[in-house]
Amino acid sequence: MSTSILARPRTARQKEWRRHVLIYLGVIPFVVIAVFPIYWMAITAFKQDPDLYRMDNIPFWFNLAPTMEHFKTLFYQTNYGAWIINTMTISAWVAVITLLTAVPAGYALARLRLPGAENTGIGIFMSYLVPPIILFIPLSRVVASLGLQDSWWALVVVYPTFTIPFCTWLMMGFFKTVPMEMEEAARVDGCGFLGAFLRVVLPVSVPGVLTAVIFAFTLSMQDFLYGLAFVAPGDQKPVPVGVPTELIRGDVYYWGSLMGAALLVGLPVAILYNFFLDRFIQGITGGVGK
């Protein structure tokens, strides 16, 4: 194929080609930016230590043979396995709690014309202005009084404080895009408020709900401070707390294991993420751009 085809595409197939090339040109830089650090972390996870500390070595590939020793350290000498399970469990619970609170709240604020709703909604969002570095202190008193100190359940209780506000607003935004006629039609048909909500509005808002789930899940994997403050036992920690606290000793950083840890937890989540993203694209026939 010569460049003239790119310049003046004539057939539909040529148009497709050109379109694809342009898109790839646009997309590749993003992929490189997003993925390069990950690739680099992956390589580091398999590099032997002496390989890492040489300035003349190529950072992108192995100069000495790759090794599994960092992963061995990760699994046999730290509680990494437990951390992963904790992280997944905590995030799942937090996602559930967030859904059960934020979805109804979002709907109530978006559609039910409650007096004082406006300000309540704003108030909920403004809770983000409270700095976690101050918040964790009174929260630790709450956690202790619930008897949850040093158990990962403490985090299940605390994380919704930062997932609920955003997800509530997110759901508000989504619910607003549901045409009112749909709800009214349902109510006229005798559904009642609850029925209209469950049978008409929710199914249409599945993309929004799934987006909220993704965010709740991701946000709960970002926290470091609360995990540090409330959970000390090694086997109760989630990955974001366990890894930096047990793989950095004094001034010695166990880079190989640190990077390996990041990958093992990040990649499955990214895959999971992608599965959800898939769903909502499926739910919309055709999408915006054809």
Binding site: D49, P50, L52, Y53, R54, M55, Q77, F136, I137, P138, S140, R141, V143, A144, S145, Q149, D150, L225, L228, A229, F230, A232, P233, G234, P244, T245, E246, I248, R249, G250, D251, V252, Y253
Partner: protein
Amino acid sequence: MTPSAHDRARFSVTRRQFVRTTGLGLAGGSLATMLAARQAPAQIKGSNLRILTWSHFIPAYDTWFDKFAADWGEKNGVKVRVDHIPHLEIPARMAAEFAAGAGHDLIFNGATILTRIYFKNLVDLTDIYEQLGKKHGGWIPAAKSPIEVEGRIYAIPLYYILLPMLWRKDLFDQAGLKPPDTWEAARVAARTLKAKGHPTGIQLSHCNDANLNWRSLLFSFGGSETDASGENPTIDSKEMREALKFAKALFDEGMTPEVFSWDDASDNRYLASGIACWIHDAISAYRTTESTNPSVFKNAYVGMEPAGPGGKRVSVAAPNVFMAWKFSKNQAAAKEFLVHLMDNDKQGMIESTGYNMPFLNDTAQKPMPVLGTDPKLQVLQDFPKIVAFFGHPGPYTTQIQEVANLYVLPDIFTRVARGQSVEDTIKWGLGEYQRIFAKHKRA
């Protein structure tokens, strides 16, 4: 015949009571000791002890410590749990535990010493402090500063981490340089070797090593941060000016701008990469080269704290202490454990492969464990005489801790290195110190 460490471990728990009442010493095999041993402290049996400590740079030390604590627990019927987090994160954890009124029984402090902030909520440990002192030849003079408040002791000093000189003998020999025994010699070496592609580096950034290293330099030049009362900043001095001028020269001639981005581990990497001609750092940097760069390991030597122009040597170190919360439901076990731990100070030092520098004079006597036998590390045995902590010659106060947390002193040296005039920088620095000191007086 002195009892073995094992015997001591077995008997120490109850002997404390005995020693207090009868004044008996450690002579083993005495009837008194045997009688004491039969009285197990009933009040701690069946209880829980929770210890929070840091992740030591030597993983083997942590393994030993965990087992040591578990073994003690088993022998005394106490369920012991040890948790590890990085030392920099301990203040946050302490704040949370204090707010919650619950948490661990024993908490470790290292790098950041918060005794004075929390002392009203810490168990008074003066009795066991004095015990241990009597038993083990006394404590080194610098021991009291991080733990004493209003005449009482609120924490037990465990060990401190030194930052000696680590230098590449092969590079020095090749260039015909003398060992870096004085700061001046170190500067000359850096200048000569930088030209050959081997500069030096000391962090000029916000990290703990910067706080330690520049204070060692300043104090060795005869300068100080505060007076002996700890209430008045004294950085506006002739010695400070000399130290700053020296630091500027050292930076310009012997370092690269990389040092502005360094953290605590960067100088370790610098040495491991083979570039550094010398660094002023904990022996962890030297030790890790054994696996990451064996040729550096072979050629690197440990040196005495360099002397300042007046011949003075002061090595500022990072103290590590254990304190016990008053809200702990098991203060008795906490105290027993601390005594047991310090009774086995020498063992601890061995397990740390010589990092943990002792506070107890007995352990500091030559030959010291590990250091006494390693030809390269022997010089560390001379450090206990010259070690000091933040705030020297005054006590380790909360205002000095804040000054350290905000990295004011490293900032002073950074500004001068970047070209700001010594006078202006001292004026700025003094202002920061005074503001911080004033706030603590107000509070």
